[in-house]
């Protein structure tokens, strides 16, 4: 009897699975059409493709979970990012915000209310309808639920420490109200939407039968992949630790190409787990991977095989990655201990910091450490951001007309040091403080990072040429981070991540920011320059007009680079990527989106 029942259930499951796999009978009226190959669109250089094939890429880490809401790490979000979508998204070519699950939105005149109009007729990957209830669930019961451990809540907090109020108007309309104008709200509302029908059972607020915090462990790696549901192009089908994650096409994905072909093109998207980036590179060379993010050092190896094996090595020296690299000058050195008075006074002198900026031989760094594959950096905002001050207007081309350039100049550096009384007083060839003590500064970076170590050596070498003694001491990464947070380092070479939204750097550049590591005491006693930066950052989020915000952020960037100089920027590595030429639309790869790193997975295809 039992056996019979089990068999019957099995058959039912099979039929059910077949029904789900059929997908939409016809293209939903609100489907999102990706204009591949259409002139005057961001996709003019792309082509409509054909369905089929298995895409292979690689990673060096296993996922930690399938729960996007509680994930902190890209080893998880590289999969959840393919499974889920938000109300809005950023275009993989232009980085502009565009409609996603919301087909449009209206902003009230006072800028305090955004009304999102959702696409209708869409379904989750299991065939359940997508409605406003999923949006309300995601924000009110997950992201804004104190029981849920999520980083997303941090990007939803408003300048007055309140949160947006998210309300359902009807099944396909959602309203978001804020107490104050907050420009990045649209960006913040791009957080992924989760399926209420699949996850509400784990939320104590909605299901008191489960303990508080149950959601935090929901959709763990022990979850049967058949329970995972999404709106994105792919859904996890299986996971084998240390081997691979196999994702299958979402039969209800709502992106279509101009020919009416439902995306994604690939049948499956497989991520191999490999021991190291070296193994990834070898597997790519063997043809076992279709695409790979590479580094400058990999370029010659791949170039020797590029033509023979029919792949493309994308190298764009003029297109840097997101992020910043810099020398941090600790203006609080010895403050807590009552030591380092000379150093602290020197580091707090703007002209010393400017002299250091003139000592950064960026071209030598680019040539000797990056084989030319890097660009000079001067702004805290990423080059690719539409708010980058090297542009003339929001999203305009980069002209660097207003760039704040401290060109490499030993003469100018020496002149600035002379001007603040840092001169050689005893004739030993090294510059001294006014009291006759030699200026001797420790320069740290994390040991083993050959590029950063190279930067330190170049800067110390140039400084020595004008009698400024910088002692390079590489230290363990964790020790370095401790030095940074404890304000015990003097000069530190490190980097920060970046992105298109300047306000994401508020925790670093605001005087009371948690990562304002070069001048933590500014939280209580900011300089006039820091006060100005605070004001500009607040102003930048208080307008919904991107053009106005651009002008504000331009002044912010120039002020930081010219007057603050707490961080002296060095160079930023260029974008490098490799893909086999059988991969259609791989040519759209950029620092923003790649076939293997997200953003293009739904529109790439096999020729």
């Amino acid at each position: 009897m039992k056996k019979t029942v089990l068999v019957l259930l099995g058959l039912l499951l099979v039929f059910s699975a077949l029904a789900i796999a059929q997908g939409y009978e016809t293209m939903p009226a609100d489907a999102k059409i990706i204009p591949l190959g259409q002139a005057d669109t961001p996709y003019a250089d792309a082509q409509p493709g054909v369905r089929g094939g298995i895409f292979y890429c690689a990673t060096i880490s296993n996922p930690k979970k399938w729960n996007d809401v509680t994930a902190h790490e890209t080893s998880t979000t590289q999969y959840t990012g393919l499974m889920l979508e938000g109300l809005i998204s950023t275009n993989p070519v232009t980085v502009a915000i565009e409609p996603e699950l919301a087909k449009s939105w209206d902003v009230s005149e006072d800028g305090l209310t955004i009304t999102f109009h959702l696409r209708q007729g869409l379904k989750w990957s299991d065939g359940e309808p997508f409605t406003a209830d999923d949006v309300i669930f995601s924000f009110n019961d997950l992201y804004l639920n104190e029981d849920v451990e999520t980083d997303t809540r941090d990007i939803l907090v408003l300048p007055d420490d309140s949160y947006p109020v998210v309300t359902k108007i009807d099944d396909y309309t959602v309203q978001v109200t804020t107490s104050v104008v907050f420009r990045p709200i649209l960006n913040s509302m791009g957080a992924n939407i989760l399926p209420k029908h699949a996850l509400a059972q784990y939320v104590h607020k909605l299901n008191p039968d489960v303990p508080v915090g149950t959601f935090n462990s929901a959709w763990g790696l022990d979850t049967d992949p058949s329970e995972l549901v999404g709106m994105g192009p792919f859904i996890v089908e299986s996971y084998t630790p240390d081997q691979n994650v196999i994702m299958r096409r979402n039969p209800y994905y709502y992106h279509y190409d101009p020919n009416g072909v439902q995306l994604p093109y690939f049948d499956k998207y497989v991520v191999l787990t490999v021991a190291s980036q070296d193994v990834s590179l070898l597997k790519f060379r063997n043809g076992e991977l279709d695409a790979l993010g590479i580094r400058a050092a990999d370029v010659p190896i791949l170039k020797s095989e590029e033509a023979q094996k029919d792949f493309t090595v994308l190298v764009n020296p003029d297109l840097p990655n997101y992020g910043t690299s810099w020398i941090g000058i600790n203006e609080d050195i010895g403050l807590a201990e009552g030591t380092h008075d000379n150093e602290r006074a020197l580091f707090r002198t703007r002209d010393f910091r400017a002299a250091l900026a003139h000592l950064v031989d960026k071209q030598a760094i680019i040539d000797s450490l990056f084989n030319g594959l890097a660009v000079p950096q001067w702004s805290p905002v990423s080059y690719l951001s539409p708010f980058y001050a090297g542009r003339d207007y929001y999203g305009g081309p980069v002209t660097e007309k207003d760039a704040v350039i401290f060109e490499y100049s030993l003469d100018k550096a020496a002149e600035l040091l002379d001007g603040i009384g840092i001169v050689d007083r005893d004739g030993d060839g090294w510059r001294d403080y006014e009291d006759g003590t030699r200026v001797e500064i420790e320069l740290n970076t994390n040991a083993g990072n050959t590029v950063r170590e190279g930067v330190c050596l170049i800067v110390a070498d140039r400084a020595a040429k004008i009698g400024l003694k910088l002692n390079f001491v590489p230290v363990d990464f964790n020790t370095l981070v401790n030095k940074l947070f404890a304000s015990t380092g003097e000069l530190i070479v490190l980097g920060l991540t970046g992105g298109p939204e300047p306000n994401n750097g508020a925790n670093v550049y605001k005087s009371d920011g948690g990562l304002h590591f070069w001048h933590y005491s500014a939280a209580d006693n900011p300089t006039e320059v820091e006060k100005k930066i605070d004001e500009l950052l607040n102003a930048g989020v208080s307008t919904l007009d991107n053009d106005k915000a651009f002008e504000i952020y331009k002044e912010y960037q120039i002020t930081l680079a010219k007057d603050d100089l707490g961080l002296v920027y060095t160079v930023n590595s260029a974008f490098t990527y490799a893909y086999y030429n059988k991969l259609g639309n791989g040519n759209l790869s950029s620092p923003v989106a790649t076939p293997g790193g997200g953003g293009l997975a739904d529109i790439c295809y096999f020729k």
């Binding site: 190291s276 060379r285 020797s304 590029e306 023979q308």
Partner: protein, 264 residues
């Protein structure tokens, strides 16, 4: 893939044409089986490797790699084995490399071995992977074992390499295999950070003072040839005209380029 059109050439190059079966509408398998110009036969074999890997068993391929009547057939089998060997374990691959199998079979294990060689670890605090690889590249049991280690050595050293250093190491090194691998690596610099003209690469492939330098010229030149507008017929014509002359590496560049056209 166009394999016809050599008839005119046959008229003007009758002595060479006697050696060649191409131009008679032959398919790749026929060229690999019957072509007497070794580089053309081998190019066809290189282009056949994928289909052989998909249609033949490992045992069949191992037999063909050893006993194949022509270099083209043996090359096709060895290339196909390299694909099948990707699924072998580290122990299996190393056993092939170190063992007494035919060199064509050991050659098939060189590329699959790279993944294992670059992943070697040790509990010894003083262990340094590049030192370990270099030692095998000098003292390995077979040429193929040494070559696999030499390739892995230069792969793992790539972050600190400069073209000028490689130019020296392609001439003078601790083993022939290390010099060869240095030349291979150097070719990538000639195609990226230290570009050379086609004429310079041709000269290097022919007149380079060591095998390593000539290999650098060969690989970089083959890349330029592949990216050119030249057709399979053009490459066949050149290979016919230089058969047995110039240098093996110069002919090798055209062989690689021809294999690329055959595979399209």
């Amino acid at each position: 893939m166009k394999l016809t059109g050599l008839r005119a050439l046959v008229v003007v190059m009758s002595s060479i044409a006697l050696l060649s079966v191409i131009g008679l509408g032959a398919n790749l398998e026929s060229i690999a089986s019957n072509e007497l110009v070794p580089e053309i036969s081998a190019a066809a074999g290189m282009a056949l490797a994928d289909s052989y890997a998909a249609t033949m068993t490992e045992a069949e391929l191992e037999a063909l790699a050893v006993d194949g009547r022509t270099i083209g057939l043996r090359t096709a089998a060895s290339g196909a084995l390299a694909i099948l060997y990707r699924d072998k374990t580290e122990d299996e691959i190393m056993a092939i490399l170190k063992g007494d199998a035919d060199p064509m079979i050991r050659a098939a294990a060189i590329e699959p071995a790279q993944v294992y060689l670059v992943s070697v670890t040790s509990d010894d605090e003083d262990f340094k992977l590049t030192d370990y690889l270099k030692d095998i590249a000098i003292n390995g049991e077979t040429h193929e074992m040494r070559l696999a280690a030499a390739k892995a050595y230069y792969f793992m050293s790539r972050k600190s390499l400069k073209a000028a250093d490689l130019e020296e190491q392609a001439v003078t090194n601790d083993s022939d295999e290390l010099a060869y691998a240095a030349g291979e690596t150097l070719s990538g610099f000639y195609l990226s950070f230290n570009p050379k003209t086609q004429a310079e690469l041709e000269d290097l492939a022919i007149n380079g003072s060591s095998e390593g330098l000539r290999v650098a010229g060969e690989i970089a030149l083959s890349s330029l040839l592949i990216k050119s507008d030249l057709t399979a017929l053009d490459f066949e014509t050149t290979l016919l005209s230089i058969a047995g002359t110039k240098s093996a590496e110069y002919r090798g560049a055209y062989k690689i380029a021809l294999a690329n056209r055959y595979a399209q």
